[in-house]
Symmetry: C2
């Protein structure tokens, strides 16, 4: 196990051609770390895992006051690799590299950023593709169903291991925002800020419908074998690919797809007689995205993540009263949404804001104009970056006021 107090950043390569990792605004080369927890992990569904392993990355340094730690929570298909590069030939950086780094909105000169592959994931943390020690075979469909609170609980275990007494902020977009919300209720004293981007108190019926269609595509793939595809030496690639295509279309705005693809054909023309061969660019793009994803992502993990999304309902155990739920929170909130996001629309974020105000909690809210739909939270949308950066400078000023070094 690595020393948790040292950043996983490695030194940039001297010489050679300029790689993204050598940019001044990059966290540079990073390496994932593994944390093994040998205690029993009891899930909210009443199951017990005999120990868990979490893979994570950190960027920046924990200060002496240990008050500058930020937890970044990933969404449906994300993982622990949020920023930087794994090697100097790595073609692209982590999924939130636009926002994490020296001088970026989540400034690693000031913050110690922690990013974990969620329990149940397929990025190295214990999940359906891990070996079940009782059987010596992959867990597969026998892996426990998880809820957002289980992720929060496992992140809390990692937090103690890292020696972080309180997060300066827990931050996430989409399903990651649900984790930031749940943290505020489950461990109200262990975070000072909850930053919730393009998220919701719970999914809409339409969202559940899309997830259900994606799920149906996976489980009806003959190669799925009721989740035991690993034992059969196959992979439900078709189903996963279709599931990803559904996600992809719905995470983009209709306007953006129009700008990006219009009705351009991949090759050929509408000259008479060749209709069978025609393919729109948007089709080959979606197929490529679907297949690329299906090559690497574990189907049981995807199903587990979809279910965590579906079942998340912040106020359920508070008699469906979000105001009553938020009364338990002690942190400050920053809520952000994007104008063209139709899967987690601004209206959903306003529900969070309204409930927080009614619960008399400090909350900032920004509705950002962006043409990128739900995917905006991953992208360098200017006003979004500016606002997130400004909010995080406040969070940093608080760290200093509380005795942390600059």
């Amino acid at each position: 196990m690595n020393d948790p107090q040292t950043s996983s950043q490695a030194a940039g390569q001297p010489g050679g051609k300029a790689h993204g990792s050598t940019a001044a605004s990059s966290v540079g080369l990073v390496a994932p770390r593994h944390f093994r927890y040998d205690g029993a992990f009891r899930t909210s569904g009443g199951r017990e895992l005999p120990g868990i392993e979490l893979v994570y990355e950190t960027y920046g340094e924990l200060n002496a006051a240990k008050n500058n730690a930020i937890l970044v929570c990933h969404a449906l298909s994300g993982d622990h690799h949020a920023a930087g590069y794994h090697s100097d030939s790595d073609p692209k950086p982590g999924w939130w590299d636009e926002h994490i780094g020296p001088g970026k909105a989540i400034d690693t000169r000031h913050f110690y950023v922690v990013s974990v592959n969620n329990l149940g994931g397929c990025g190295g943390s214990t999940g359906p593709s891990s070996i079940n020690p009782e059987t010596g075979k992959a867990w597969g469909p026998d892996f426990p169903s998880l809820r957002v609170r289980d992720w929060v609980d496992s992140q809390h275990i990692l937090m103690e291991h890292l020696g972080v007494a309180q997060w300066a902020a827990v931050i996430g977009g989409s399903l990651g925002g649900m984790q930031a919300l749940r943290w505020a209720l489950e461990y109200p004293d262990l975070l000072r800020h909850s930053v919730v981007i393009a998220s919701a108190l719970k999914l809409t019926a339409q969202n559940i419908g899309f997830n259900n269609t994606a799920r149906t595509a996976i489980i009806s793939d003959p190669d799925f074998h009721a989740g035991r595809y690993q034992e059969h030496g196959v992979w439900p690639k078709n189903g996963l690919s279709i599931a990803r295509m559904i996600g992809h279309i719905t995470y983009l705005s209709g306007d953006l797809m129009g700008q990006k693809f219009g009705r351009e054909l991949q090759a050929g023309s509408f000259a008479r007689g060749n209709e069978e061969a025609l393919e729109f660019q948007v089709e080959s793009y979606l197929r490529y995205q679907g297949e690329k994803f299906a090559d690497s992502f574990d189907a049981n993990t995807y199903l587990l993540m979809l279910r965590a999304l579906d079942y998340f309902d912040l106020a359920r155990e508070y008699a469906d009263d979000a105001v009553a739920a938020f009364r338990h929170a002690r942190c400050k909130f920053m809520i952000m949404s994007f104008s063209t996001d139709w899967r987690f629309s601004p209206a959903r974020s306003r529900e969070i804001v309204d409930a927080l105000i009614a619960a008399e909690k400090p909350v900032s809210y920004a509705e950002v104009d962006s043409s990128y739909g739900h995917d905006s939270f991953l992208l360098p949308v200017q006003r979004y970056q500016k606002l997130l950066g400004a909010y995080m400078r406040q969070v940093h000023a608080e760290c200093i006021a509380l005795g942390g070094q600059s």
Copy 2:
């Protein structure tokens, strides 16, 4: 072959319990008719069908002046059965029964309504599931790819057979609206009104993306066998079911799905420990709709219809200039859209209206508030019915002015 001048309405059953077909506003019991055209039918793609058969229904009577005929065009999964019942135990009427009948918006006391199962369909007209006379086997994937203009051409052949010299109106919603638009350009003198509901000049990239995902689900179903499932004695039910689920979610508005299902569970509760067994009502609804559809609809027909939708682009051959395209039209237009329709949004209808105005064509436009999304065009939305009825009364007044009987 039936006498085309006689309505396919049959007399209501005397006595017995009151069935929908006995209502004064119903066209009553109806029977499909078959029309066989023995000439060669050349498709726009340059293929030739050695004769075609079209199945159709008619409601109301053709007047002596033969100027009160209305062509109703169906959408993706519709057919010729637009109104009335096929028997007095038929559980539900045709797909547009809300709008066709005595006293309804398309009033069969005044109009002679013709509804055809499109060529390539699976409701009885020649299509992929018909026998290819050259091989003695089902056409399957060898059936020619069709465009909207091919439907218009085949409807024109039926029109001549029926002795209709000019349609009082051609009316359709969605893909049906594309036929009404194409009629106005291909046979400008053969219709007086084009009524285009919840339609578009062409699909958006997002729409093509959804269609592509549906198509991928069908063709990647192992039971699809490259379209030769009939020869294999199987049916690509999973793929069709997923395709239909995608359609279903996207044809409804998000708000309506929320009102209809919310997050209600089918059975059970969120009590700890039973997550695996939980299913939201929206899931079982979608699965039921998908499976019901997949039991009866032909996959090759579905693919053919999706492609006709994708490829439709009214202005393509007019150098992408819709104004130039509409200059060829001679009829009047009524364009209608629905506020919550996000697959064929009001913005798409306004593009039609703007181009018609620029082309100096008479056009009425109504944007109707409705919570039902794209499916609104099938439903008894009050303002929609009122406006369509008012417009059709004008169309009827014209028939009389032109020498038709009331």
